[in-house]
Amino acid sequence: METAIEVRDLVVVRGKREVLHGISALIPRGSVTGLLGPSGSGKTTLMRAIVGVQIVKSGTVTVLGDPAGTARLRRRVGYLTQAPSVYADLTVRENARYFASLYGLGAVEADRAVVDVGLGDAARQLVGTLSEGQRSRASLACALVSNPDVLILDEPTVGQDPVLRDELWARFNALAAQGSTLLVSSHVMDEAGRCGQLLLIREGRLIAEDTPDGIRAAAGVQDLDEAFLRLIRAQDRTATTADGGR
């Protein structure tokens, strides 16, 4: 399968602390890849590096064949930040139309994106009056409106009810089926099974890169939460053994 994002030996230092320790990963085109790991594990930093707004110490990040952050990619990469980025004193529809205008698109695309995230009924509502989950979806609509080739979504399903989460994941998979590449971060393991591929990250290190079934097989359990735990313990044992051998 063709690669959309290639990360090679990525090291990132923020402040005086190294937060990514030589991560390498391949993300195939037209897929939904889950980036899973606990809070503070480096998910957002890795996403920032892929979007091209993170200063990297060493290593390379290539997106659609170009170095991350290059001008040519700006039209092809969409980014949903963890905190919603929409104007609270505009309605959902006005926000979507604002972003659509920025991308040279019209009201039709904007309204479609609003419906796609399940906010059709709240389109005329001020964002400031929405719940946290709705606000997050309004922000997602703005990220989806330009239909980018690569979508980097930082915890887009946090605070959503199960029905909406299900709908959002269905939407993500539909986008992937149409050829878009999605990298979706989450710290909720039960979402892992909805991804075509998983990157499990902990303390700035990639501890697994495989399909959900591949990870289940490697860990020897069906439950992905348990599989993640086993992989962590195996990694810890390996590190302890290596330290003891010195």
Binding site: V53, T81, D89, Y103, S146
Partner: protein, 287 residues
């Protein structure tokens, strides 16, 4: 750039803040430019409204400034201080709120380019500003013709040259203050601090410094070239009564000449806009 301009015009058009600030300016302009002066003129015969208008000459001056041919001057008179402050708020909130709500972050990481995005915002603000000044001028003309008709005074239109001069001066003064707001919004990456700092500067600090300049000569060299001084001096050069005049407008001065004030305001405008663009382009995008 066109896409950014369209997007920002859409935002400013739908944004309650724009209408509130522009509406406030229009009401204040009419109130202080016409309503209060006219009430003072009408109540000069001992109703208690205008105790300082004791002679016919003062009353004539007051009425003279309410006539249609003086509308270009009235348009400019309120801008150096309270009009400028309102437009500074609009500039600061327009840019600062993008940082506050995180929308700049998304735009800067995807598209358009930072210069283009902020350039679109500046252009949209410029269009709003030009429209606001035009509407203000029209309202001032309507108010002045109404007063002239009510007082059976000749209704002489302002000359084209005076109108152009007044419109240009109003645009330059208001654009400078708005650009100052844009710079503050960019510097502070938020609306609240930008508005607070801008208002303290425009309404308090400059006046305090002018007070100090009266005591310490060298300070005057600085105060003579401050943005507020330049704005007030241009308004004074166009014909607005200075704040030392009993009927004058706060903020209007005659410290420097019209040409020097125009050059200074132009320089501040360019400096504030270029500073905002440079800062935006060079700073890290935080998430």
């Amino acid at each position: 750039m066109i896409a950014s301009l369209r997007a920002e015009l859409l935002r400013l058009r739908r944004w309650p803040v724009t209408w509130v600030l522009c509406g406030t300016w229009l009401v204040l302009n009419l109130a202080f430019g016409y309503l209060f002066n006219y009430l003072s003129y009408r109540s000069r015969d001992g109703s208690g409204f205008a105790e300082n208008i004791t002679d016919a000459a003062t009353a004539r001056v007051l009425l003279r400034h309410l006539m249609p041919d003086q509308a270009p001057i009235t348009l400019v008179a309120g801008l150096p201080m309270f009009g400028g402050a309102l437009l500074l708020i609009l500039g600061a909130i327009t840019v600062g709120s993008g940082y506050g709500w995180g929308t700049w972050k998304t735009i800067f990481t995807t598209r358009p380019r930072r210069h283009t995005a902020l350039g679109g915002t500046m252009a949209a603000l410029g269009i709003v500003l030009a429209g606001l000044i035009a509407v203000t001028f029209v309202l001032d003309l309507i108010a002045s013709f109404t007063v002239a008709a009510a007082e059976s005074q000749p209704t002489t239109w302002p000359s084209l040259a005076d109108s152009a001069q007044g419109f240009g001066a109003a645009l330059l003064i208001s654009a400078m203050w708005m650009a100052a707001g844009v710079l503050l919004g960019t510097l502070t990456r938020g609306p609240a601090l930008a508005v607070g700092l801008g208002l303290v500067w425009s309404l308090v600090v400059e006046n305090l410094l002018r007070g100090v300049a009266g005591l310490l000569g060298p300070v005057a060299n600085v105060t003579d070239v401050l943005p507020g001084t330049a704005a007030g001096s241009l308004a004074g050069a166009v014909g607005a009564l200075t704040q030392s005049d009993p009927n004058g407008t706060p903020g209007v001065t005659a410290v420097i000449g019209g040409t020097a004030a125009t050059i200074l305001l132009g320089a501040y405008l360019v400096l504030f806009l270029a500073g905002s663009l440079t800062l935006t382009a060079r700073r890290d995008v935080t998430t």
